[in-house]
């Protein structure tokens, strides 16, 4: 391991420690928090801050250590940042859907299920098209 400036090594090491700490805290939150909607909160820190710091450490290491710009890491970070909210939204939708259909395996958590939204609307989970569904319903 010759060549890399000590500053680059220190910066990469600090970013790795930061990223691993966030991953650890996120997974600890997944174990510790009482209901699914709260548990969704923990791993998002791991996937944005934790992975972001580790991928940045990799960029710093390969750039300052070997003088090579690697953009794969930024691509991974971009992909994770785009997809993490989508998968979290899908998981929350499944949770609401199963609460609504009364699945026995789905505990609502200490605060109970969320209150119904005002008006005739319902939470936006996937369901069969019915009277009043905009768009793809023949009777519209």
């Amino acid at each position: 391991m010759s060549g890399p400036a000590p500053f680059a090594e220190l910066l990469a090491a600090a970013l790795i420690v930061l990223g691993a700490s966030f991953a650890l805290v996120g997974s600890w939150g997944l174990v510790r928090l009482p209901s699914l909607m709260e548990r969704l909160h923990g791993p998002t820190k791991a996937s944005t801050l934790g992975m972001g710091a580790m991928l940045l450490a990799s960029v710093v290491w390969f750039q300052l250590g070997e003088g090579v710009w690697t953009t794969h890491e930024l691509l991974i970070a971009l992909f994770l940042f785009v997809t993490a909210p989508i998968s979290a939204n899908m998981i929350a939708k499944v949770h609401l859907h199963r609460l609504r259909t009364g699945e026995a395996s789905e505990p609502p958590g200490p605060t109970g299920p969320p209150p119904p939204p005002p008006g005739k609307a319902d939470w936006a989970t996937h369901e069969a098209p019915h009277q009043g569904t905009p768009g793809d319903f023949a009777g519209d």
């Binding site: 391991m1 090594e9 220190l10 990469a12 090491a13 600090a14 790795i16 420690v17 990223g19 691993a20 700490s21 991953a23 650890l24 996120g26 997974s27 600890w28 997944l30 174990v31 699914l36 548990r39 969704l40 791993p43 791991a46 996937s47 934790g50 992975m51 580790m54 991928l55 450490a57 990799s58 290491w61 390969f62 070997e66 090579v68 690697t70 794969h72 890491e73 691509l75 991974i76 992909f79 994770l80 997809t83 989508i86 998968s87 899908m90 998981i91 939708k93 499944v94 949770h95 859907h97 199963r98 699945e103 395996s105 789905e106 505990p107 989970t125 996937h126």
Partner: protein, 93 residues
């Protein structure tokens, strides 16, 4: 033999991510809902991506990142497929 700063940080990172994976596995086994299991699998994929990135730094290899990118894509598609299956009873309609 003394560890350099980066080697110490890498050891800490591997240990932390391994512990995080063990906690995710506990949540995967414990449940209680099927959504908790999907969330645990999603988090496991995230942590494994971190492990691959750290392995790429430790091994000074650029090929680890293709694996990490592929795993990120496959993990996302897997999570969405689980969620779609539970919502609709089908994945591709």
């Amino acid at each position: 033999m003394t560890l350099s700063v980066l080697e110490g940080a890498l050891a800490f990172g591997f240990a932390g991510l391994g512990l995080a994976l063990a906690m995710n596995l506990w949540r995967l086994v414990k449940g209680p809902g099927v959504t908790d299991r999907i969330l645990a699998l999603d988090t496991m994929v995230i942590n494994v991506i971190g492990l691959i990135v750290l392995a790429g730094i430790a091994g000074d290899s650029g090929t680890a990142f293709e694996a990490a990118l592929l795993l990120a894509m496959v993990g996302f598609v897997g999570t969405v497929a689980y969620a779609k299956f539970l919502l609709r009873g089908d994945i591709i309609e």
